[in-house]
C-alpha cells in the first residue's frame, strides 16, 4: 500500500510539475516536422507533440482516394537542386539528399501512403524530437514578466500532463470537417467516411455538396459507374490553371467538367447550401427541396405533404431523386483547445477556417504564438502556395529566422557582396530560388545597400508583409535604401472567369516587361524602408507600396532569365539608374586607360583591376569587343589616326539599311505558345 501511495504521490507530483521547453510545436505533420528540423539545426530546446503514434496522421487518412495532387517531377533537365525544388511539391527542406521525395516515388502524382512513409523517415533520419501519442487538449497562458513574451504557454495533454513553453508553434493544420446543417442533413455522408469503392455506387444517382478538389476527387472516382453525378456549391468553379492558385480545382480532377459540358448526364449547379433541404421518400430516395417549404409546414405528416420545387416548377433542375448525397466541404482549424485568453480568432469571410495571424505568422491575439503550415494560409489564401507543403516549407523557415533573431540575437542570414555583383546576385536568385518562385508575392529577397552603394547585403526570402519591420525583425540595418526582389503574375491575368489563353498573352520584349502576365521577377527600389503606414495604405492587390522605381524582368517561356540582352541588360540599366552609377564590366585595358585619364574609376575597375584582379581577357574576346566598337584597338590606329573607325562605320552601314526597314510580323512564325 505504501508503495502504491508513493507511486500515486509521485504521479501527482509529476503531473503538477511543468515540463519546460523553449519551443513547443503542436502537430508532427509536414510543417511541424519542418520547423522541428530548423530548431534542431539551430540546437534549440524544442519538442513536437503529436496525438497519433506516427507523423503525418492526416495523410494516413486523406485524401480518401490516396492520390496526392502535388507534383513530383523526376526530371527537369537541370541538376541545380535549388531550381529542382521548384518542381518538387512534396519534399521538406533539409540538408539530407536522401530526403527528396523523388527518391520515394516515381509517380508524378504520388500516393498518400508514400507521404506518410516520407514523413516518418524525415522525423527519424533527422532524429527530430517528436513526442507521439500526446494530444494537446488545452492551451492557456501564464503571465510572467521574465518570459520571452511576457507569458508562458501552458499545454495540457490528454493525460493532464502539463508542459510549459516560451514560444508556441501551432502546426495542427486544418482537420475539422466543415459541415452544413439543414433539414435532412442527417442523410448526408461525409467525405471522411464515404465509401471509396466505386462498386458501391453502381447505377446510383449521386449529389455532391462542395466544389473543391475533394469533391471532384470523389466524383472522379465514381464517374464511370453512377447514373449521374450532380454537384452543388455556392460559388462557380475555380480552375487552378485560370486562377494560378494551386488550391483551386486542378486539371487532374476535372473529369466531371468534361462530362457536364458534353452533356453526358453529370452536372454542376450553383446554390446556397443553407437554403436546401433533403427529404427521404419511402423508397429511400433523397429529394431536394427548399428549407423555405419545410418552414411553412406546421406538422410532420410525411413526405407526401412536403412541397417539392417541381410541384410548382415542373422543369426544376434537380427534380430527379438521388440515391446518395455526399458532403465534400473541406476542413477548418481546430479552435477548441485554446483558452479564451489566447484570443485565437477565426478570420473574416472566406478565411474563417483559418486563425487570424499577422504577415509575420504570429497570432494577432497572442505574442509568441506562431501559426505554421496549412493553418497559416490566411496570409496568402487564394493567392500563393502558403497552404501547401511547397509553400509553407519556406514560410516556416522564415518564421524560424524571425525567432532566431528575436530570441537568440541571431540576425537574419545575409551575405555581403561588392556592388559589382549586384546584377549577378539578382539573376542567380531569380533563376534558381524556389522560395521566391513558390511563395510569389509573399516572400521576397531583400537587398540592403551599404553607404555610397559600394557594397550590399543580400537577405533571402523575407516575408514581404512585414517589410516595414525589417530592421527590427532581422537585426539588419537599411539606412541607404533597398531593393525588393519578388515574383509576380501579371495583374488582372488570373481569375476564375479569365481567359488565360488569349492571343498574344505573352510579352516578348523587354521594354514591355511590365505587361508580363506569367510569373516573372519584379524588383522594387525604395530610397527608404517603407513605413507601417505606407504598407497599410498600399493599393489593394499590391504586395508592396509604391516604390521609387520598379523593374520587371520580362516573362520567359522557359523561366530562364539569363539572356544577356533581354534580361540582364535592362536589369543592369535599372540598377544603374537607381544607384546612379555605371555597373558595366571592363577589360583590364579599359581600366588602365581610365586609371590614367580619369580621376574616378567605374566600380568594376575600382573593385577589380585596382585590386590587381583585372579581367585581362583572351585575344579573341578583345577582338570581338573591338569589332563591336566597345573597345578601341590602339595598335591599329597608328599615326594616321581615325582611319580604322571610319572603315568600321562603312562596314556597318549596309546593315543599317536592313533593320530600320519596318518589318511586318511574319505570319508563318505564329506564337509557338499556342501550340
Amino acid at each position: 500500500l505504501g508503495l502504491a501511495l508513493y507511486a500515486g504521490s509521485l504521479c501527482a507530483a509529476s503531473r503538477a510539475a511543468f515540463l519546460y521547453h523553449d519551443y513547443c510545436v503542436i502537430g508532427a505533420g509536414p510543417s511541424g516536422l519542418q520547423v522541428a528540423y530548423f530548431l534542431q539545426q539551430a540546437s534549440r530546446d524544442y519538442v513536437v507533440f503529436e496525438r497519433s503514434h506516427a507523423p503525418g496522421s492526416f495523410f494516413a487518412l486523406y485524401p480518401r482516394h490516396r492520390k496526392l495532387i502535388s507534383i513530383n517531377k523526376q526530371y527537369t533537365g537541370k541538376s541545380n537542386s535549388e531550381f529542382n525544388l521548384r518542381h518538387d511539391w512534396n519534399s521538406l527542406l533539409s540538408h539530407d539528399g536522401r530526403l527528396l521525395f523523388r527518391r520515394y516515388s516515381r509517380d508524378f502524382f504520388p500516393k498518400a501512403d508514400v507521404m506518410v512513409r516520407y514523413l516518418e523517415d524525415f522525423a527519424s533520419l533527422l532524429k527530430l524530437r517528436v513526442q507521439y501519442n500526446t494530444a494537446i487538449v488545452h492551451v492557456t497562458l501564464e503571465r510572467d514578466e521574465q518570459a520571452w513574451n511576457g507569458h508562458y504557454f501552458i499545454l495540457t495533454d490528454q493525460d493532464r500532463q502539463n508542459y510549459k513553453c516560451s514560444s508556441l508553434l501551432v502546426a495542427t493544420g486544418t482537420w475539422v470537417p466543415n459541415v452544413v446543417n439543414f433539414p435532412g442533413s442527417e442523410y448526408v455522408e461525409g467525405y471522411e467516411t464515404v465509401s471509396i469503392n466505386p462498386e458501391d455506387f453502381s447505377g446510383q444517382a449521386v449529389l455532391i455538396l462542395g466544389r473543391g478538389n475533394s469533391a471532384f476527387e470523389t466524383a472522379e472516382n465514381i464517374l464511370g459507374v453512377t447514373n449521374f453525378i450532380h454537384m452543388v456549391s455556392r460559388s462557380r468553379v475555380r480552375l487552378s490553371w485560370a486562377t494560378h492558385y494551386v488550391g483551386d480545382l486542378r486539371a487532374i480532377n476535372n473529369g466531371l467538367l468534361d462530362t457536364y459540358q458534353l452533356k453526358s448526364l453529370d452536372g454542376l449547379l450553383e446554390g446556397d447550401l443553407e437554403d436546401l433541404a433533403i427529404v427521404k421518400d419511402k423508397k429511400g430516395k433523397l429529394h431536394i427541396t427548399l428549407r423555405f417549404y419545410l418552414e411553412n409546414r406546421n406538422t410532420s405528416t410525411g413526405i407526401d405533404s412536403i412541397t417539392l420545387p417541381q410541384d410548382e416548377l415542373d422543369n426544376f433542375a434537380t427534380r430527379a431523386p438521388y440515391d446518395r448525397v455526399i458532403r465534400c466541404l473541406g476542413w477548418k482549424f481546430d479552435f477548441s483547445i485554446y483558452n479564451r485568453s489566447l484570443r485565437m480568432m477565426p478570420g473574416k469571410e472566406n478565411k474563417k477556417k483559418y486563425p487570424q495571424i499577422k504577415p509575420s505568422y504570429e497570432s494577432r491575439g497572442t505574442r509568441g504564438l506562431f501559426v505554421l503550415g496549412t493553418a497559416s494560409h490566411s496570409v496568402d489564401f487564394r493567392k500563393s502556395a502558403g497552404g501547401f507543403i511547397h509553400g509553407f516549407r519556406y514560410t516556416t523557415r522564415a518564421v524560424h529566422r524571425l525567432l532566431e533573431n528575436r530570441h537568440h540575437g541571431v540576425p537574419w542570414p545575409s551575405t555581403v557582396y561588392p556592388i559589382t555583383q549586384l546584377t549577378n546576385s539578382i539573376i542567380k536568385r531569380v533563376n534558381e530560388a524556389s522560395g521566391l518562385y513558390q511563395m510569389f508575392s509573399v516572400l521576397a529577397d531583400i537587398i540592403l545597400l551599404r553607404e555610397n552603394a559600394t557594397s550590399f547585403e543580400y537577405l533571402e526570402e523575407y516575408p514581404v508583409g512585414v517589410l516595414a519591420e525589417l530592421e527590427m525583425q532581422t537585426g539588419r540595418k537599411a539606412p541607404n535604401g533597398l531593393f525588393v526582389v519578388i515574383m509576380e503574375y501579371g495583374r488582372n491575368f488570373s481569375g476564375a472567369d479569365k481567359d488565360v489563353f488569349y492571343y498574344n498573352r505573352a510579352v516578348g520584349e523587354a521594354q514591355h516587361a511590365w505587361q508580363s502576365n506569367f510569373l516573372h521577377p519584379v524588383i522594387y527600389y525604395y530610397k527608404h524602408l517603407p513605413t507601417e503606414r505606407e504598407m497599410r495604405l498600399r493599393p489593394p492587390e499590391w504586395s508592396l507600396p509604391r516604390p521609387d522605381a520598379v523593374h520587371h524582368i520580362v516573362e520567359d517561356f522557359l523561366t530562364d532569365w539569363t539572356a544577356p540582352n533581354a534580361h540582364i541588360l535592362p536589369l543592369r540599366r535599372f540598377l544603374e539608374n537607381c544607384l546612379s552609377t555605371d555597373l558595366r564590366n571592363f577589360f583590364a585595358e579599359s581600366c588602365f586607360l581610365f586609371a590614367f585619364t580619369r580621376q574616378k574609376l567605374p566600380p568594376f575597375c575600382r573593385q577589380g583591376y585596382v585590386r590587381m584582379q583585372g579581367l585581362v581577357g583572351s585575344e579573341g574576346l578583345r577582338r570581338h569587343a573591338v569589332e563591336a566598337g566597345l573597345l578601341e584597338d590602339y595598335a591599329l590606329t597608328d599615326s594616321s589616326g581615325d582611319r580604322a573607325p571610319d572603315t568600321h562605320k562603312e562596314s556597318q552601314d549596309p546593315l543599317l539599311g536592313d533593320h530600320v526597314m519596318p518589318v511586318r510580323p511574319l505570319q508563318h512564325l505564329v506564337n509557338a505558345k499556342d501550340e
Binding site: S79, N80, E82, Q421, N424, I427, E432, N504, V507, E509, A510, Q511, A513, W514, Q515, K527, R533, L537, P539, R546, V550, H551, P564, I568, L569, P570, R572, R573, E576, R584, N585, F586, A588, E589, A595, F596, T597, R598, K600, P603, Y609, Q613, V616, S618, G620, L621, R622, H624, E627, A628, G629, L630, Y634, S639, Q652, L655, H659, V660, V663, A672
Partner: protein, 839 residues
C-alpha cells in the same frame, strides 16, 4: 548644349507669349468675313485691323487672299485682326465702290485709316507682317535715307538710350519682318532705325559691306558722352532672324563686366545661358583698378561673343597657379574651367574667337550627328549592349571552347577528384555570367600551357548546375579560382584574370612558400634563379630570408608572409648554422632578406627587425617593385597602390639608353620615392596612345615625358620637348611644377561614372496605362514627385478607357513579341556596336 537651347527657347517663347497675350477678339476663324456695316461698327479705338474689301472673289485676288489668310495668325500675335469685308453688289461707298480700292488692303487703327497697301506689296506672310508692323510702329522704327538723318537720331539719343540700326536690302523680306518683330518687343527700350540704302551702310564705316545681306548693329549711345564721336557699335554676326536679334539684344543688355566673388564653377551669366563662353579676369586687391580697365577693354572687344567677369582672388579661395590671370569657362556642362597665363589682351580675344570658330564647325557636325541620334532614339539605344565584356562573350558564344583539358566537376565528384591529385585548380563559374565566361576562355589557355604538367589538375564547377558545392566552398562571387592541396588547405586566387598570370600563379604555388633551403649551395642556386629548376622559366625576383637559429619570431613572420604571398612571389628561407657564410658574403646580419632581381644579377640585402606578418608582406611587396619599371596594363595596379604622382616616359619602342640612364638616376636619387618614375612602351602597351590622345588631343612626338597627378587634382604636365631628358633638366622642371610655375596641358576629368543610359521607366508606363491605379496616392516623400496621369481632353469616361485600349492595340501590333517578332529582333541585333564606341 541642350540646356542652353532650353533657356533660349523658353525666353523666346516667353517673348512670344507676351506678344500674343495682348487681348484679341476670340474668333473661331482667324480671318473674319464681315459686311461693311459690321466691320466699321466693330472697330475699336486703338485696335489695329487689316481689311480687304471684295465684291466677290475675283480670280486675281485669290493668291493674295490666301496669303492674307495665312498671315492672320501671325498678325494676331501682335493684336492685329485680319478682316475680309464682303461688299454688297450695290455698295458704292468709299472702300467698296471703287474698282481701284478692291486691289488694296487697308490698315486701320480704330476707325482711322493708317495706310493702304497695294496687294502686290503683300506678296507673302513676311511682307504682310513686315509692312503692317512697319506702318504701325512708325514712331518706334525710324526710316532713314541719309547719313545726316542717322547722325541726327544718334545725337539725339546720346546719353539717353541705345539704338538698333538695321540695314535690309529691301522691305517686305524675312529680315525686315524679323527687325519689325523685334521692334515690336524692344521698341520702347531701344530706338530702332531702319534703312534700305546700301550707301548708308558704307558710310557708317563698313569698308566693303556685302550689301546683298541684311545687317544689324547695336549702337551704345546711352553711355556715349562725346557728341562729336559716333556711338560705339556692335555688329550682330549671325543672320537676321527673330531669335538671333533677341539673343543679340539680350547680350547687349547684359552688364559689360560682371564682378564675381564666388566659386567660378558656380557662376552663371546670360552669356553662359545663351551658349557663349565666359572669360574671367583674375584680379587682386593691388591691381584691381588696372584689372577692371583690362576687363572692360576685353569686354568691348568680345561684346556679343563672350562674357567677361572680374574675379577677385582675395575673395575666392582658388586652387590654381598664382601666375594664372585668365580663366575660361565654356557653356558645356561638365567641362572644367581652364586657367591660363596670358600675356596680353589679344591672346584673350584670339582664345575666345578661335574657340568659337572651332565650336561652330563642331556644332555643324554635331547637328548632323544629332539628327542621326534622334533616329536612333526611336529605335531605342537602351536595348543595345554597351558592356564590352558581355558583348564580346556573346559574340564568341558559337565557338566551341577547347575545354578537353579541364575536368568538369559535379556535386558528386567534387570531393573525390580533390583527393586524387596533389593540386587541384577549380574554377567556380556561372555559365550565364559574362565575366566567368571570359575567364573560362583564359582558363582554357592555361590548361593548354600546363598540359602534361604532373601533379596539377585543372577543373571547373558550374555553379548554375551545382549551387550546393559552390555555397559549401564559400564561393560568393563569380568567377572564383581556388587551388586545393590534397588533404590540406586551399588558396583563393586573387591575381589578374589573365592566362600568363594564372599560369604563373599555379606554377609558383606548386613550390612551398617559403621554400626551405638546406644547404648553402641551394641558397646560392636559389639566388641565381637556378633552384628549384621547375621555376627557372617563371620567376622574376627571388626573396631569400636568412635567419639564425635564434631569430624565431622573424622567421615565423616570414613563414606566414610566405603563406599569404604564395603564388605571387618566390620566397626561400635559409637558416644559418654554419659560419654565417651568406651573411658575410652579402654584408648583412641575420635576420635579413636577400633580394635577387631577375636579370640584374645583383643581390640586395635588407635587415629585418621585429616586423609583424603584415609588415613583412607589405615590405616584400614594396621591395618587389622596380625602381624605373616599364608600366603595363598588368603591373599598373601595383604602382597605383603607392598613391603617388606618376612621371612617365612615353616611348615608341624601347627607351633610349641615355634617357633610361638619366631616368634611373632620377628615380634612385629619390629615396623616399615621392613619385613613380616609369616608362611606357607604346609598342607593347598600345593603349598608351589612348592616354596620350586624351592628354593632348593628338599624338605628340615621342619620346615624351609626362607628369600626372593621378591622385591629387589630376593635372597633366608635359616636359618641354625642346629640352633634353636629363636628370638635371627634369629636376628643375619638377621644381617649377611644385612652385606652380607651369601650366598643366590638361586636367583629368573628375566626372563620376553615371549610368550610361536610362532604364525603362515602368512606373511611369504603368501609371500612363492604368490611370485609375491609386499608385501615386500612397506616395509620401517629397523627393519622388508623383506623376499624375495625363489629363484626358474630354474628361468623360469614354476617354478614360482609351489608354488601356491603346496598350491592347499596341500589344497586338508591336513587333518583336513572342516568336512573331524574332526575325525583326534578329535583324535589329546587327545595329549593335554601331554606337557606344565611347565608354
Amino acid at each position: 548644349m541642350s540646356a542652353q537651347m532650353d533657356t533660349w527657347v523658353s525666353s523666346f517663347s516667353f517673348l512670344l507669349f507676351c506678344a500674343s497675350s495682348i487681348p484679341t477678339r476670340g474668333s473661331a476663324r482667324l480671318l473674319q468675313e464681315l459686311s461693311p456695316q459690321e466691320y466699321f461698327s466693330s472697330l475699336e479705338a486703338g485696335r489695329a485691323s487689316l481689311a480687304y474689301f471684295s465684291h466677290n472673289v475675283s480670280p486675281g485676288a485669290q493668291p493674295f487672299l490666301e496669303q492674307i489668310e495665312n498671315s492672320a495668325e501671325a498678325l494676331q500675335d501682335y493684336g492685329i485682326s485680319v478682316v475680309k469685308v464682303n461688299c454688297p453688289k450695290e455698295d458704292v461707298s468709299r472702300y467698296c465702290g471703287k474698282e481701284n480700292a478692291l486691289r488694296k488692303a487697308y490698315l486701320f487703327r480704330g476707325n482711322m485709316l493708317i495706310r493702304e497697301f497695294p496687294t502686290d506689296a503683300l506678296f507673302d506672310i513676311n511682307s504682310i507682317v513686315a509692312n503692317v508692323l512697319f506702318a504701325l510702329l512708325f514712331n518706334e522704327v525710324k526710316y532713314v535715307e541719309t547719313l545726316a538723318d542717322l547722325q541726327n537720331i544718334e545725337n539725339a539719343l546720346k546719353g539717353r538710350s541705345n539704338m538698333v540700326f538695321a540695314y535690309v536690302p529691301a522691305t517686305g523680306t524675312a529680315e525686315h519682318r524679323a527687325v519689325m518683330e523685334a521692334a515690336f518687343v524692344y521698341g520702347t527700350v531701344h530706338q530702332f532705325v531702319l534703312t534700305t540704302e546700301a550707301t548708308l551702310l558704307k558710310d557708317t564705316g563698313n569698308a566693303e559691306p556685302d550689301v546683298s545681306s541684311a545687317r544689324l548693329f547695336f549702337c551704345h549711345c546711352q553711355r556715349a558722352t562725346d557728341l562729336a564721336q559716333p556711338c560705339g557699335r556692335t555688329a550682330m554676326g549671325q543672320a537676321l532672324t527673330m531669335l538671333n536679334i533677341h539673343r543679340h539684344l539680350k547680350l547687349m543688355g547684359a552688364p559689360l563686366v560682371t564682378e564675381v566673388a564666388e566659386d567660378p564653377e558656380k557662376v552663371s551669366t546670360v552669356h553662359l545661358q545663351l551658349g557663349l563662353p565666359l572669360v574671367f579676369i583674375l584680379s587682386q586687391k593691388e591691381t584691381y583698378e588696372a584689372d577692371r580697365r583690362t576687363a572692360e577693354f576685353v569686354a568691348w572687344q568680345l561684346l556679343g561673343k563672350a562674357g567677361v567677369a572680374l574675379l577677385s582672388r582675395d575673395l575666392v579661395d582658388l586652387n590654381v597657379l598664382l601666375r594664372s590671370n585668365v580663366a575660361l569657362k565654356t557653356p558645356d556642362e561638365g567641362v572644367p574651367i581652364k586657367y591660363l597665363v596670358l600675356e596680353d589682351t589679344d591672346e584673350v580675344i584670339t582664345l575666345v574667337e578661335d574657340k568659337s570658330k572651332v565650336e561652330q564647325i563642331q556644332e555643324a557636325e554635331e547637328e548632323e550627328e544629332e539628327e542621326e541620334e534622334e533616329d536612333e532614339k526611336e529605335n531605342n539605344n537602351q536595348d543595345i549592349q554597351d558592356d564590352q565584356v558581355v558583348e564580346a562573350v556573346s559574340r564568341d558564344k558559337k565557338r566551341e571552347l577547347p575545354l578537353e583539358q579541364i575536368l568538369v566537376l559535379t556535386e558528386e565528384t567534387f570531393h573525390s577528384a580533390l583527393a586524387e591529385t596533389a593540386r587541384t585548380v577549380v574554377l567556380f563559374y556561372a555559365s550565364w555570367e559574362a565575366v566567368s565566361l571570359a575567364v573560362l576562355r583564359s582558363y582554357a589557355e592555361v590548361a593548354d600551357h600546363l598540359k602534361g604538367t604532373r601533379g596539377v589538375l585543372l577543373s571547373r564547377v558550374n555553379c548554375w548546375d551545382w549551387p550546393g558545392v559552390c555555397t559549401k566552398e564559400n564561393v560568393t562571387q563569380f568567377p572564383t579560382i581556388k587551388i586545393y592541396e590534397k588533404g590540406e588547405r586551399s588558396v583563393m586566387y586573387d591575381g589578374m584574370w589573365g592566362t600568363e598570370e594564372l599560369t604563373r600563379f599555379i606554377m609558383l604555388s606548386r613550390v612551398s612558400c617559403p621554400l626551405k633551403l638546406a644547404t648553402i649551395e641551394e641558397a646560392e642556386g636559389y639566388l641565381r634563379g637556378e633552384f628549384p629548376s621547375e621555376l627557372s622559366s617563371y620567376q622574376h625576383t627571388s626573396v631569400l630570408g636568412v635567419f639564425s637559429t635564434a631569430t624565431s619570431e622573424a622567421r615565423e613572420a616570414f613563414e606566414e608572409a610566405g603563406n599569404i604571398l604564395s603564388g605571387h612571389v618566390t620566397m626561400g628561407m635559409y637558416s644559418e648554422d654554419d659560419g654565417l657564410a651568406l651573411s658575410r658574403k652579402y654584408a648583412v646580419s641575420p635576420p635579413a632578406l636577400l633580394l635577387a632581381r631577375s636579370g640584374g644579377g645583383s643581390v640586395e640585402g635588407i635587415a629585418l627587425s621585429e616586423e609583424s606578418t603584415q609588415d613583412m608582406v607589405r615590405m616584400i611587396r614594396y621591395e618587389l617593385l622596380d625602381i624605373f619599371p616599364e608600366i603595363t596594363v598588368l603591373n599598373l595596379p601595383r604602382y597605383l597602390q603607392l598613391q603617388k604622382p606618376f612621371l612617365i616616359l612615353f616611348s615608341d619602342g624601347d627607351v633610349g639608353q641615355m634617357e633610361s640612364k638619366e631616368m634611373l638616376k632620377l628615380a634612385k636619387g629619390r629615396p623616399q620615392r615621392a613619385f613613380v618614375a616609369c616608362w611606357l612602351n607604346l609598342k607593347k602597351t598600345p593603349v598608351g596612345r589612348g592616354v596620350l590622345k586624351t592628354y593632348f588631343a593628338t599624338l605628340p612626338s615621342l619620346p615624351l615625358l609626362v607628369w600626372v597627378n593621378l591622385h591629387a587634382g589630376g593635372q597633366v604636365f608635359k616636359f618641354p620637348s625642346e629640352q633634353a631628358i636629363t636628370e638635371l633638366n627634369v629636376l628643375s622642371w619638377l621644381e617649377k611644377l611644385k612652385a606652380g610655375l607651369e601650366i598643366p596641358s590638361s586636367t583629368l576629368s573628375e566626372e563620376d561614372w553615371k549610368p550610361p543610359l536610362p532604364a525603362y521607366d515602368f512606373l511611369q508606363m504603368m501609371e500612363m496605362a492604368v490611370p485609375e491605379l491609386p499608385l501615386h496616392t500612397s506616395g509620401r516623400r517629397g523627393d519622388t514627385p508623383a506623376r499624375s496621369p495625363p489629363e484626358s481632353p474630354g474628361g468623360d469616361t469614354s476617354t478614360r478607357e482609351e489608354p488601356s485600349q491603346e496598350t491592347k492595340v499596341e500589344k497586338v501590333t508591336s513587333p518583336g513579341r513572342d516568336l512573331r517578332g524574332t526575325a525583326l529582333r534578329l535583324a535589329a541585333r546587327e545595329k549593335q556596336g554601331k554606337r557606344h564606341s565611347e565608354l
